[in-house]
Symmetry: C2
């Protein structure tokens, strides 16, 4: 039996950062990874591959602007998708190597195999080279999630698929139904639309990405529609199946996907991407042996220090639920490692940015207008369109905008919302101002490099102050 200070199950962003933090504290750390490569969903099937595909899409279409791209019919060359996804593999290999190097150079041991509990302090790793038992003072569950595949639907992984399979498609479908307008559904829908695929998105709520600012969400929906997407909002899918194409009709993969909506409509397309819900990857962990249980979606409950009901067993990342972002999972991993070895760590900061890598890109930090209104905080908004500034003209970004939410009395910056090129980078300037309790006056009095998108902050600040003067 091997002994260690910390046994981590899963080498995704949360597991990695916890391992490195614990190793830096001089602890003996073992990471169990069920796949042959480290990195988890973030690197291998989720975040990074989809962002790599997005870069490749932007590169081949030569535009950051979904509307500009939609005119270019890229469809005739159906095998373009295979070439694009191949381009992603270089990035994936690079990231896997980077993470492995970081773990190994910090002295973290990586065991490949399925990890599961034998009892609360013993984990077994069942791998290609046999099984090994590990006795650990602390255990971290960082196994992430897998796409939900409701049992009533048959996922053939070619016509009816989830995000795990989409990057394995060899040919670009001509038409696609995307079920679920959350982050994953919206990102893939916008990429496919940029490639010229006719996309229909079905979302049960009245709008896509309902946690983002309504004005930004409206802009996204407008641009998706301009790019040829059909949005079926407040609609529910009741049946999904693969059907034979009618006589004489061609289909890309042999079969067609058919979705029936509760409202009675029937949608048919070359492929259907199912993006509703992800389930905690906990079923194989034998959590009962550790005295732990999960909720209906396979998720593990933790306290503010990421401790489960067994204080020596921690859990971080997607497996504990919201917000399920690689960025926050990393921070959770680091903080959990500090807490379990009695080192001081701050809490997760309140100002977590959200980045959505749709085309166009979206990001936000702080409060939304909806929330400020609900809480009775008097605010004014200041807006800059990218096309108003030189850098926006250089990028030919007709879509981009930055919105600041400003307290009417204190002029404090309360929220930043952006859509357009580089939105996920740009948001961090406002995040810093907010973190230090800054007001919009900082943005007015600051010199920004010219020409940059950062100038939007100044233009938006003036716009907001002008409105404040008239109230």
């Amino acid at each position: 039996m091997r002994h260690c200070d910390l046994c981590i199950i899963g080498s995704g962003p949360g597991g990695q950062k916890a391992a490195i933090q614990a190793a830096k504290l001089g602890k003996d750390v073992v990471v169990i990874e069920r796949m042959e490569v480290v990195g988890g969903v973030a690197i291998n099937t989720g975040t990074i591959p989809s962002k790599a595909l997005r870069e490749a899409v932007l590169a081949v279409t030569g535009a950051q602007n979904i509307v500009a791209m939609a005119g270019d019919a890229l469809l005739p060359e159906h095998n373009r998708l295979a070439r694009l996804t191949e381009a992603c593999n270089r990035v994936i290999r690079g990231e896997v190597e980077l993470v492995r190097h970081q773990l190994v150079s910090n002295g973290v041991e990586i065991l490949h195999g399925h990890g599961s509990f034998i009892n609360p302090t013993t984990v077994v790793c069942d791998g290609p080279r046999g099984t090994e038992q590990i006795s650990a003072e602390r255990v971290l569950i960082a196994t992430g999630t897998t796409p939900a595949r409701p049992r009533e639907f048959v996922f053939d992984e070619k016509t009816i698929l989830t995000s795990d399979e989409i990057l394995r498609l060899r040919r670009l479908p001509r038409t696609m139904i995307v079920v679920g307008g959350g982050v994953i559904g919206t990102e893939y829908a916008s990429m496919m639309a940029a490639l010229g695929v006719r996309v229909t998105i079905v979302e049960g709520r009245p709008r896509l990405l309902d946690f983002i600012d309504a004005e930004i969400g409206e802009a996204l929906q407008y641009h998706l529609r301009q790019a040829g997407c059909t949005l079926r909002l407040s609609e529910k899918v009741v049946s999904i199946r693969a059907v034979e194409p009618p006589p004489g009709a061609r289909s890309v993969e042999g079969m067609l996907a058919e979705a029936t909506l509760e409202s009675g409509k029937t949608l048919v397309a070359d492929a259907l991407l199912y993006c509703i819900g992800r389930t905690g990857a906990t079923s194989a962990l034998n959590l009962a042996a550790a005295g732990l249980s999960v909720d209906g979606r396979g998720r593990v409950a933790v306290n503010e220090h990421f401790q489960t009901s067994q204080p020596h067993i921690y859990a971080v990342g997607d497996v504990i639920g919201f917000p399920a972002l690689a960025s926050t999972s990393m921070e959770q991993g680091r903080l959990a490692a500090l807490h379990m070895f009695d080192k001081p760590g701050s809490n997760i900061p309140d100002l977590i940015p959200y980045g959505i890598y749709s085309i166009p890109e979206i990001s936000m930090v702080g409060w939304t207008e909806e929330r400020l209104t609900k809480e009775g905080v008097p605010y004014e908004s200041g807006i800059a369109q990218y096309k108003e500034i030189a850098r926006g003209q250089l990028l030919n970004d007709e879509v981009g905008m930055l919105k600041l939410l400003i307290h009417q009395e204190t002029r404090a910056l309360l929220g930043v919302h952006a859509i357009g090129t580089g939105a996920t980078e740009l948001i961090h300037i406002g995040q810093a101002v907010m973190a230090f309790g800054g007001t919009v006056d900082y943005l007015v009095n600051t010199v920004f490099n010219y020409p940059t998108l950062a100038e939007c902050y100044k233009v938006a600040a003036y716009n907001g102050l002008n409105k404040l003067r008239h109230t």
Copy 2:
């Protein structure tokens, strides 16, 4: 005779922002612009056109990385340059229209013609529709600069040229000598190298861009050399002339450029770009009539409020000298307008960022290592390479790095230096942290969107803190 509150000579960034600020204060503003279009050098021949060319170069070469590009021989197609510069014209027209719209919609009157003083309070505009005298309570000189063309050299604008003519070249030279390794020389040299032109840069100082951080400067020089540039540092040009090509040799423009160095070397190329010095565009202003004089380089002296020796006459922008950046000129214009009409305005903030749009891009804010060492401030540096983070891998940016300078005792952030994709945008995060007196702990404890270049701040912060622990 027309009367106004403020007469501005020049519609570049400084003039524009002064005009808009004064108009917002309810003042009657006239702008005199000698060109047919507004915007000054920044929009028409300088900043924006060179940045538009840079975007076009990056787009056709398909890489952000000068080393990756250098392998692609783009040279066979010599008329590519004309197509590239044509692509810039759309951006220039857009910017001109934007500036005109902003001025006109704020009620600013634009007169086209040469402005000059008749007496300290009267300016005459000599334009295509005749002359008009304007009596003004306040006058702002915002005429900018023009490239210096030393009399001993003959500028034929085809073989021997300045930055004013380079964008009018119809064919790409095969070889180019760039005299002067300042901002303009370095930007154009790197763009030409990216297009496959064999470039030789001659600079009198021991390194290019000697005001930037030495490590960043070294990285820039390394990458320029990797891209095939020859650097002749600590060398002085003593003679420049256009010569007939030797019998049998071809040249792109009929003649060849020949430069002789003080060290005795002779350099020959298809074209020579002269980028040493710019002269205040003041010779036609009849400043003597206003009781003003200029220095040996045509520049006007001002106090901290941008007042000349005549307190009602102000000057802003490149015509007053350092730093001669569009970004600072705008802020100077705004502050001058506030001061002349007795409105409170802050001073130009200490934390002015510098952006250099070479390939790769460079930016900095705050102190350099050299300056901190000289002043005896104990510091440590923290470095992140773009290739260490996911976004850098996605961009395939092998060049990029971000360096933080951290006070050894207080952990305050003292300076940020960056080279690589998006450096000019990225710098503003550090600028905000520094403006609020933040420490490196902010960067450690912040969640950044994943994958973004902003994550470099966190990686660099850890790198710096690790070093601090070992001191």
